[in-house]
């Protein structure tokens, strides 16, 4: 689905800040940002892109079973992640590496997940409530809705205190729009008026299937049918992503009910390292999106307002160091112990499973003894 007349864009593809028309309502949110926050947006986008490239390399070198690239979607993720407040709960799909980093996840955990040493990798409680990746498309939309329902039962929102009132944001893709779970989540959240934002990264493809197969109307218009306000943004504009998400999350936390944001973006890389996008999309399409790159437009804007060249070189250096650190630590990831297979299937004792673990350990030991 292409842009519509309603698409909110603050920063044009060539890096010029709009000041007229609809964007006026969002500009104050940007004007309030400190210089260091504006720098942070840039830094996060650059670092996570470098991380993404590094992880793809590690996959090619056989260090990872699979890689899931996020390149091209940095603005949608970094802007929305910074719009969330510390107390908010964020439920990702599996491509939200930048959101993970912003919330304080050591992104080596994502490497571990795709290397095959864990199904999880971090504790949401230690990661500013950034929940685990969920691979079954749209399942997490219901977990987010249930969590948000819990917030309403606890009356932990709509007290007029944005610094403590809680809200939830759930990330999903354009393909997830077709799943029953997403539609049930929209129904539940509308019925119970939960404080939550549905944040769709419409990267235009669900593996090889274009968004036009998922929907004949722009995705954000679907929300209206559920009684949920929907809005479409230029997802490659980090300022729009931040401002629109901040406004909608705060409206939800203030008791305004659920909100729906469609961020138009593009998956520059393959779906995963196992995918070959040349089989289903044209180079012309790809190039049209490269021209709308989220980082270069933001860099242009920062330079136009006088950001120093040393800032940009410092960020580039930090990104290199970050990648080097990831590379080094990836080589040191230990294999998991057998405990991981058995010990947390149940949280209470399970004799049959304990016996199976014991059997496996003694079987392995006997094999070791025989060789």
């Amino acid at each position: 689905m292409a842009e519509t007349v309603e698409t909110v864009q603050l920063l044009s593809a060539d890096g010029v800040l709009h000041t007229e028309g609809r964007v006026a309502e969002f500009l104050p949110l940007i004007e309030r940002l400190s210089e260091s926050t504006l720098q942070r947006f840039y830094r996060d986008m650059v670092v996570i892109r470098r991380f993404d490239t590094e992880a793809a390399n590690l996959q090619r070198q056989g260090q990872l079973g699979l890689w899931v690239p996020s390149m091209g979607q940095e603005a949608a993720q970094v802007g929305s992640a910074h719009a969330a407040r510390d107390q908010d709960h964020l439920f990702p799909a599996y491509r939200e590496h930048a959101v993970a980093m912003v919330r304080g996840v050591d992104v080596l955990s994502i490497i571990q997940l795709l290397r095959g040493t864990t199904h999880g990798g971090w504790n949401p409680k230690d990661s500013k409530n950034f929940h685990l990746y969920t691979l079954v498309i749209a399942s997490q939309t219901l977990h987010a809705t249930g969590y948000a329902l819990g917030i309403t039962l606890d009356n932990a929102y709509a007290t007029g205190q944005p610094e403590t009132d809680e809200a939830v944001m759930v990330y999903l893709g354009d393909g997830a729009m077709s799943q029953g779970d997403l539609n049930e989540a929209l129904v539940f959240s509308a019925s119970y008026q939960t404080p939550q934002v549905f944040f769709v990264q419409n990267n235009h493809w669900a593996i090889s299937v274009p968004v036009s197969v998922q929907s004949r109307v722009p995705l954000y218009q679907r929300a209206a049918g559920f009684g949920i306000p929907g809005i479409q943004i230029d997802g490659n504009d980090v300022l729009a992503s931040f401002a629109v998400t901040r406004e909608n999350l705060d409206a939800a936390r203030d008791g305004g009910g659920p909100r729906f944001i469609e961020a138009l973006t593009y998956r520059i890389g393959a779906h995963t390292s196992s995918d070959d996008p040349t089989k289903y999309r044209t180079d012309a399409e790809l190039q049209s999106w490269v021209a709308r790159d989220p980082i270069s437009r933001y860099e242009t804007w920062l330079r136009s307002r006088g950001e120093s060249p040393t800032f940009f070189s410092a960020v580039a250096e930090e990104a290199e160091d970050f990648a080097a650190d990831i590379r080094a630590r990836t080589h040191e990831i230990p294999n998991p112990s057998v405990d991981k297979m058995f010990d947390h299937v149940y949280s209470e004792h399970h004799a049959a499973l304990a016996a199976q673990k014991e059997w496996l350990l003694s079987y392995e030991a006997s094999m070791g003894a025989g060789s």
Binding site: H119, L142, H143, T145, G150, L153, D343
Partner: protein, 361 residues
């Protein structure tokens, strides 16, 4: 939007505001007056009483389901509970099973203990993915850092002459899934205690309620104590052959045991109570004594809980067996139209036929 406004109008949950994501075992409105004595009541009422007690004991216990509010559920198991606890603790949900289970998962992450009612056995499948891929795996995915105290109540089984999808026994699908616990009471007393234990469990528990037994009365010992949730139990002793089952099958097995006794065969009856995990110790001990085992269930026999028990007992008690373990189950056909259900469901005669076959070896 009456549904929304009634939900919101109910105000806050007493005791909830102070405690957000934390403790699961928070007292609600002071310690509940412990009911005492033995009361004769039907199973539906016993489950209702157990739910009520659990809700009084812990303010984090909430009920979710279709038509469970003013109506009290299509089987009236939740009757009166919304009036007593309010619409914020007894939630009439939108009509979507995946939504119910998926929301219960998110609520568990927030510290709530949801009891989800599935209206009928055959309608659990829209929630199958959330149960098997999410609920069952969530604690494992989190390496123990998140617990999933969610109970799924499933009225199951035949004998009520209902239309398609209303008489099924889908236990095996869930017993096959690591991470879930499955139990099924056969008496009002067990129903009263087991529902409370299921709610107290920090693992997801599927609670299979034999709907044909809902209206049958039995003594409930309110001042008694709970037997371990996952213990199987010898409920009638005998020496020649062991028969076992769960839920509504127990009534059939006891009938068969009476009839067999009249014919001179001594039948020991075991109530499984727990389908996952299975408590094999009483079963193996019984088979060591009788040398014969008949496993009965309403579900189709192919790849079933019954087959699992037959295989395991064969492994554990091979040298004691005088006869192969025999299964008496529903047929490997969809549950038939109501006028055929008595042919599909194992009755006392089919149990006796199997007992005779076992005795003939």
């Amino acid at each position: 939007m009456t549904e929304v406004s009634s939900f919101l109008a109910t105000g806050s949950v007493t005791g909830n505001t102070a405690d957000s994501a934390g403790s699961a075992a928070m007292n609600f409105a002071g310690p509940a007056p412990a009911p005492t004595g033995t009361v004769l009541m039907p199973m539906a009422k016993a489950i209702n009483a157990g739910l009520r007690q659990a809700m009084m004991d812990n303010a984090k216990v909430i009920l979710m389901g279709e038509d469970i509010g003013p109506l009290g559920g299509v089987f009236r198991v939740t009757e009166g509970l919304q009036a007593e606890f309010g619409a914020r603790r007894v939630l009439d949900t939108p009509l979507a099973e995946s939504g119910i289970i998926g929301s219960a998962i998110g609520l568990a992450m927030r510290g709530y203990r949801s009891v989800c009612e599935i209206q009928f056995d055959g309608f659990i499948f829209p929630g199958f993915d959330q149960i098997t891929s999410q609920l069952a795996k969530m604690t494992n995915r989190h390496e123990g850092q998140v617990q999933m105290p969610v109970v799924i109540r499933v009225p199951y089984g035949g004998h009520i002459g209902a239309v398609e999808h209303h008489q099924e026994s889908p236990e095996a699908y869930f017993a096959h899934t690591p991470g879930l616990r499955l139990v099924s009471p056969s008496t009002p007393n067990d129903a009263y205690w087991m529902i409370q234990e299921a709610i107290a469990s920090n693992d997801p528990v599927m609670f299979f309620e034999p709907k044909s037994r809902y209206w049958h009365k039995g003594d409930v010992d309110l001042s008694g104590s709970a037997a371990p949730l996952h213990a199987s139990r010898v409920i009638r002793s005998g020496t020649d052959v062991t028969v076992l089952g769960h839920g509504a099958m127990i009534t059939v097995l006891l009938q068969a045991a009476e009839l067999a006794e009249a014919e001179g065969t001594s039948v020991e009856v075991i109530d499984l109570r727990s389908l996952s995990p299975i408590d094999y110790a009483p079963i193996v001990a019984s088979v060591q004594k009788t040398g014969r085992l008949v496993v009965a269930s309403e579900a189709p026999g192919f790849v079933s809980v019954s087959s699992e028990i037959a295989a395991t007992v064969t492994e554990k008690a091979f040298y004691y067996l005088e006869a192969p373990v025999i299964r008496v189950t529903g047929f490997d056909a969809p549950f038939p139209p109501a006028k055929l259900e008595t042919l599909y469901l194992p009755d006392a005669d089919r149990i006796l036929e199997a007992v005779d076959r076992a005795m003939a070896f």
